[in-house]
């Protein structure tokens, strides 16, 4: 079902808050992988505020949907949305990166409630997601497994091993979303290690491919709703995004893969985020 205007505004509001939280945590932590957290901010927002069947009061609820952030360096974004959804007190995030903190840059599922897998070494998450999806099938559970993958991360052969198995096992309870921001650390994905024709690669691996604007809630909503209905093949949503989205000075800037902000830069970032969706 398409989302109505109110729902869209609600999601936009949540996304602004989420991005502001990311800026705050980055400032407190003394640095974070902020660019890639901003590019997937709308994806996380619609998952955590609309699609995921979860209960923050019961993080271990067996029937819950699973969400694996395979691009684990986006931990700052995942932590921010989990805190807002009530898995833990947002104030704990002031301790991000600090000594003995449960929150490192890459989240540890044994320490942070709501995290379904410890990721950070790229190219692991999708295999674990395949395992969770197979686990659901074998145990006749109805949960859906979501997996967010970075585009640079798709250089890893293990992503394609996972993809091959997802399609071989016809995992229609697995939804993979690629954050296609076209940047990695050393430059543009197409310059460092070309991925294109990217959608064709996924098709060749047996996936149903949806290419959408990863910042447009209508498109995100339609693609994910549709993926939940589809029952013939695993789905990959290639979400075209902008690294650093929402912060004017960060957008499409490769140097903002990882960055730290002084209070002035953070303030400027928050102002830039406030202006989002106002057009």
């Amino acid at each position: 079902m398409p989302i109505d205007k109110n729902e869209k505004q609600r999601l936009q509001e949540k996304a602004r808050q989420h991005r502001t939280d990311i800026v705050n945590v980055t400032e407190w932590a003394g640095g974070a992988h902020i660019g890639g957290a901003m590019s997937m901010a709308d994806i996380l927002t619609i998952l955590y505020y609309k699609f995921l069947r979860i209960d923050p009061a019961r993080p271990d609820w067996d029937e819950r949907d699973r969400m694996i952030l395979s691009k684990g360096h986006g931990g700052v974004g995942l932590a921010a949305v989990l805190g807002r959804r009530g898995y833990f007190d947002m104030a704990l995030l002031r301790n991000f990166n600090k000594f003995k903190s449960p929150f490192g840059m890459h989240l540890d599922c044994r320490k942070v409630a709501g995290v379904d897998a410890s990721t950070g070494s790229l190219g692991h998450g999708m295999s674990m997601a395949v395992g969770l999806a197979l686990g659901a099938r074998l145990q006749r559970k109805s949960w859906i497994t979501y997996c967010i993958v970075g585009d640079g991360e798709c250089n890893e052969g293990s992503i394609w091993e996972a993809a091959m198995s997802a399609s071989h096992f016809k995992l229609t309870n697995l939804i993979t979303i690629v954050d296609r921001n076209s940047l990695m650390i050393d430059g543009r994905t197409e310059d460092v290690m070309a991925l294109e024709p990217f959608a064709d690669k996924w098709r060749a691996f047996g996936f149903l491919v949806k290419e959408i604007d990863g910042h447009d809630f209508d498109e995100l909503n339609d693609a994910i709703s549709d993926a939940r209905e589809k029952r013939q093949a695993p789905v990959v949503i290639i979400a075209k995004t902008v690294k650093g989205k929402g912060v004017d000075y960060m957008e499409n800037e490769v140097k903002w893969h990882y960055g730290s902000m002084n209070s002035e830069l953070a303030q400027q970032a928050r102002r830039s985020i406030e202006k989002m969706h106002s057009a």
Partner: protein, 338 residues
């Protein structure tokens, strides 16, 4: 020129540069002299500083994207073709993600591939266990043909990188992430792969260390002399493999108390290597390993973690005092111990 004298890098440069920046600069120098050197990375040109080589020799640089297994396989192929690959990525990914490529493609075939791995140990402490490498020394030293070096600081990194070029076979050099302070103030202290450096003489106990713990141990020895009147020998065993058996046994015979301090798991690293040497000798001594216990490290800035795991000056002092207090057979007759 610089290469011949080996004294380009002074503490003045080194204190302004990270270990990896010094590595990058030295590799650029070496690139001039050795046209066969090829630089490789997996989307970490900037982070590991091998990007400095890329800037200077773009046509001799290969970035494979985020694909470490491919990275080391390609390096093996390049070496087979007669080139001299220098490969850089984070220590966790060099030793674990590409473990089998390093072992089977590079070590088994005994290829001339030099691996300069950054973010070693818990130097990237804030990143958590996915990026911490507390196992890499154990892994690498278990591979036949592999040489394993953990330089004390930027200056020793320069020495190690220079030395490994003419040293045959695979070499693994582990450096840190950030602004680890320098112990050495110049390069010409006689660095040689496989030879320990005695940086303080002593008769009461021996501190054996590598990497960031060298500076801390040297400092601890000074404090222990002033405050406790102890005479502590300090050995920098920068080469974990091949290990300097002679230097270790000389220490055992002199001080009979050995404390090994390293930024690594207590399982399988320098501590284990030293323990092997001592145990096989049949000689007894008081012995303590200081490192990360058999658990995944906490999160935090490296300084906090070093303090927590007793790898800093204060922690080392505490450990030495404990070992000095240990009841120990002071028998000078070694004959009955074999």
């Amino acid at each position: 020129m610089a290469l011949e004298t080996g004294t380009t890098w002074t503490v003045y440069d080194a204190n302004k540069m990270t270990q990896s920046e010094i590595y990058g600069a030295v590799l650029c120098e070496l690139g001039e002299k050795y046209p066969s050197i090829i630089g490789l990375t997996a989307d970490l040109a900037k982070s590991t500083k091998i990007g400095m080589f890329e800037d200077k020799f773009p046509e001799r640089f290969i970035n494979v994207g985020i694909a470490e297994q491919n990275l080391f396989g390609i390096a093996a192929g390049l070496a087979t073709s007669g080139l001299l690959p220098f490969v850089s990525t984070m220590a966790a990914f060099a030793s674990m993600r590409a473990c089998e490529q390093v072992r089977t493609d590079i070590c088994y075939q005994n290829l001339n591939v030099k691996i300069i791995a950054t973010h070693g140990g818990i130097s990237f402490g804030t990143a958590g266990s996915t990026h911490q490498a507390q196992e890499d020394i154990a892994i690498m030293r278990s591979f036949p043909n592999m040489t394993v070096i953990v330089p004390a600081d930027g200056i020793e990194t320069a020495n190690a990188v220079r030395a490994c070029v003419e040293y045959p076979g695979p070499v693994y050099i582990r450096v840190g992430r950030g602004f680890e302070p320098c112990y050495y103030d110049r390069e010409d202290y006689g660095f040689q792969i496989g030879k320990a450096v005695q940086i303080a003489e002593g008769t009461d106990a021996t501190l054996i260390c590598c990497g960031v713990t060298v500076l801390q141990a040297a400092e601890a020895a000074r404090v222990l002399k002033d405050e406790d009147g102890l005479s502590i020998e300090v050995l920098n065993i920068h080469t974990i493999k091949p290990i300097d058996t002679e230097a270790i046994m000389r220490s055992v015979l002199t001080t009979r108390r050995v404390i090994v301090v390293e930024e690594h798991s207590v399982l399988g690293g320098l501590g284990s290597a030293v323990a092997d040497v001592i145990a096989s000798s049949g000689k007894g001594c008081a012995f303590e390993k200081v490192g990360i216990p058999d658990e995944f490290s906490l999160v935090g800035y490296p300084e906090d973690l070093y303090a927590h795991y007793k790898l800093d000056t204060n922690g080392i002092i505490e450990k030495v005092r404990a070992v000095m207090g240990q009841a120990f057979e002071e028998d000078e007759n070694w004959e009955d111990e074999v």
